[in-house]
């Protein structure tokens, strides 16, 4: 450690290539904030395997941008790319975990998972049509919960976000008004509310503002100890956002779509949480010679995570990818080739 630090410091005056330390290989990734907590946990554990992960959570849009420009080893996004987009950018896409989008609120006096929301009410909140927490519609839904007389302050993602993509896909499915209005994308024109950067920013803003409601990946709610809400699913049941409900959705995933883009939003099923999504890694199929090592190490890292990271993922309430799919993913890695044309994985 000391020698590395000295080497690093000595090479500071503009030496173009730092003498790569003998020990860990560093892989750099950028993108979604959705899976950041689990990637970082995996990253810490993988140090023992000789892999150092440098992950910049800048949002799915940023991740797509950076991997398209090949400035990182891999990109991370929750918004899956289409087959055409992947082909054009020479990327392959594979899932790593599944996570869920939950609603977090800051309502004094309202306990965790006590508030009930329906798709209609949720859409109206983000359309700006429902502006006070003691609105009769909410009171009707929540007999037994004393709702404070506060204005509703929606919080959304100001950066291009896969979490936004998942959430707005859900809203577009449950509301025609939303579908033809703001629509579903990583970044939209929000009718009301405040914008924040990252899942972390939403969590922060909700924590600081009484009456705020925001959408985040579940781990951020847990980690920040924020109050989440129930949501009524397609079957008509009010579901609490817990691991069993997420797993119920995950069980119905169809992984045969191109790019493994399983759609887990607003599924049928009695105990299913309606807003679940896989999160994806984008990897170049044609890394340059200097990036081959990084590509190999990236695949090693995720292979290790598939085999050993399930516990850490579950502890953070992400759902691991089923083993059959993991094998399919590894098979797809054969497309990643060196400039000479040899497959990098198991090469």
């Amino acid at each position: 450690m000391n020698r590395r630090a000295f080497l690093a410091a000595a090479s500071l005056p503009l030496l173009p290539s730092l003498a790569r330390a003998q020990s860990p290989v560093t892989i750099t990734g950028a993108g979604a904030t959705f899976p950041r907590p689990v990637y970082e946990r995996w990253g810490q554990a993988a140090r023992a395997e000789g892999i150092q992960l440098n992950y910049q959570s800048i949002g799915s849009g940023g991740g797509i941008n950076q991997i398209t420009n090949r400035t990182v080893d891999f990109g991370a996004t929750d918004a899956p790319r289409t087959e055409a987009q992947l082909r054009e950018a020479n990327l392959i896409q594979f899932p790593t975990v599944m996570g869920s989008v939950v609603l977090i609120v800051n309502l004094p006096g309202v306990a965790d998972n006590a508030l009930r929301l329906t798709p209609e009410v949720l859409t109206d909140i983000f359309l700006g049509r429902l502006t006070r927490w003691n609105d009769p519609r909410l009171v009707e839904l929540n007999r037994g919960v004393s709702l404070p007389n506060l204005p509703v302050s929606p919080v959304y993602r100001a950066d291009a976000s896969g979490t936004t993509f998942v959430f707005t896909t859900y809203l577009s499915r449950v509301s025609e008004t939303w579908r033809t209005g703001p629509g579903a994308a990583t970044s939209i024109q929000w009718p009301v509310g405040n914008g924040q950067r990252g899942n972390e920013g939403i969590a922060n803003a909700v924590r600081q503002t009484p009456g705020a409601i925001g959408y985040t990946e579940n781990a951020y709610a847990t980690v920040n100890r924020l109050v989440t809400t129930q949501l009524r699913n397609k079957a008509g049941n009010f579901i609490t956002p817990t691991l069993p409900a997420f797993e119920a959705a995950a069980r119905n995933a169809d992984w045969t779509r191109p790019g493994f883009a399983a759609d887990l939003v607003d599924l049928n099923g009695g105990d299913v949480w309606p807003i679940v999504s896989p999160t994806f890694i984008l990897l170049p199929t044609n890394p340059t010679a200097e990036r081959v090592e990084g590509s190999r190490a990236t695949m090693r890292f995720f292979d290790w995570a598939f085999r050993n990271g399930a516990d850490a993922a579950r502890r953070l309430e992400y759902i691991p990818i089923p083993e059959a799919v993991q094998n399919a993913v590894r098979a797809s890695w054969a497309q990643v080739r060196t400039p000479a044309g040899a497959a990098i994985w198991n090469a």
Partner: protein, 300 residues
């Protein structure tokens, strides 16, 4: 203060004169209190910022900040190592020093041009005007400019782009101080040197620059302090990095960017580190400013 009314119509009698005088004095006193209040307000803001920095930044200020690079949040697991800002501090020092090294000579030459060659010429006016515009131009636009010029062709963010963006900000600062300092030197000195047979360029480099040295150095220090705290241009050029790296061809960490990213991270321990970084940057910048001022006062 005598009771003679200055603006008002001449008083008809003693009583009116005294009353008008009292009103003026009251107005004067009222305004005086308002202005003192305004000054106090300004000082309150300064104090609030400094106190907030100290209050939030000191708790996490320890040796780890200087010896550790970025680590993700330790939330939920206290056995995990706490991260530091070493990568950011060194990245900032590298980029700031390199930018100053590039921008200072250019600024020095331009300031010399304005003071020694172009006093009153049209080109001189133009250059001075442009330099002043660049001085106050929004730094994010400098970032956009370097993005188009350097980042796009290179295909990605890099420390080099960050250095160039900062250098563009350094130039007008050095131009302004160099020109001001050189213009303070009396012409008699210049004439004396030239009369001794020295060529103009030697007069400038060996005599004028030396005479204005403390002022020029002050300018360089102020430029250094200014770019050390710049975030916006770096956001679009060197972008930030979580690991210690001296490679200018790749994205590079810097203290302001690290503060920005960690302050927005949502995790309390990372936010605390961000505050410590903010404290370090502010202390550094303030110390350099004070040192520059003392230097100027001693020589000038």
């Amino acid at each position: 203060m005598s009771a003679t009314a200055m603006h008002a119509a001449p008083a008809r009698d003693e009583a009116t004169a005294r009353r008008l005088g009292r009103r003026r004095r009251l107005k004067d006193a009222a305004v005086r209190w308002l202005c003192l209040g305004a000054t106090a307000l300004g000082l309150v803001f300064l104090a609030s910022i400094l106190l907030t920095l100290l209050w939030r930044g000191l708790p996490s200020l320890d040796l780890l900040i200087f010896t550790r690079d970025f680590e993700p949040t330790t939330y939920g697991d206290d056995t995990l190592p706490r991260g530091g800002l070493r990568h950011a501090i060194l990245g900032t020092l590298l980029q700031t020093a390199a930018a100053t090294a590039i921008g200072t000579p250019i600024g020095l030459l331009v300031g010399t041009y304005l003071s020694e060659y172009a006093r009153g010429s049209a080109l001189g006016h133009a250059v001075r005007f442009v330099s002043d515009v660049l001085l106050s131009a929004p730094s994010i636009l400098i970032g956009l400019f370097i993005y188009q010029l350097v980042v796009l062709p290179m295909g990605g963010f890099s420390g080099l782009a960050g250095i160039l963006a900062l250098a563009v900000i350094v130039i007008p600062v050095v131009v302004r101080t160099t020109e001001d300092m050189l213009s303070l030197i009396p012409n008699t000195l210049r004439e004396a040197v030239v009369a001794l047979g020295a060529p103009k360029w030697k007069m400038i480099t060996l005599v004028a620059w030396r005479a204005a040295l403390s002022g020029i150095v002050t300018g360089v220090l102020l430029a250094f302090a200014r770019i050390a705290g710049e975030t916006a241009p770096l956001l679009l050029t060197s972008f930030g990095n979580n690991i210690l790296s001296g490679e200018v061809g790749k994205a590079m960490a810097s203290l302001p960017i690290a503060i920005y990213q960690q302050a927005n991270s949502g995790f309390p321990d990372l936010i605390a580190v961000a505050w410590t970084g903010a404290l370090l940057v502010t202390l550094g910048v303030l110390l350099i400013n004070i040192a520059a001022r003392l230097l100027l006062r001693r020589k000038g």
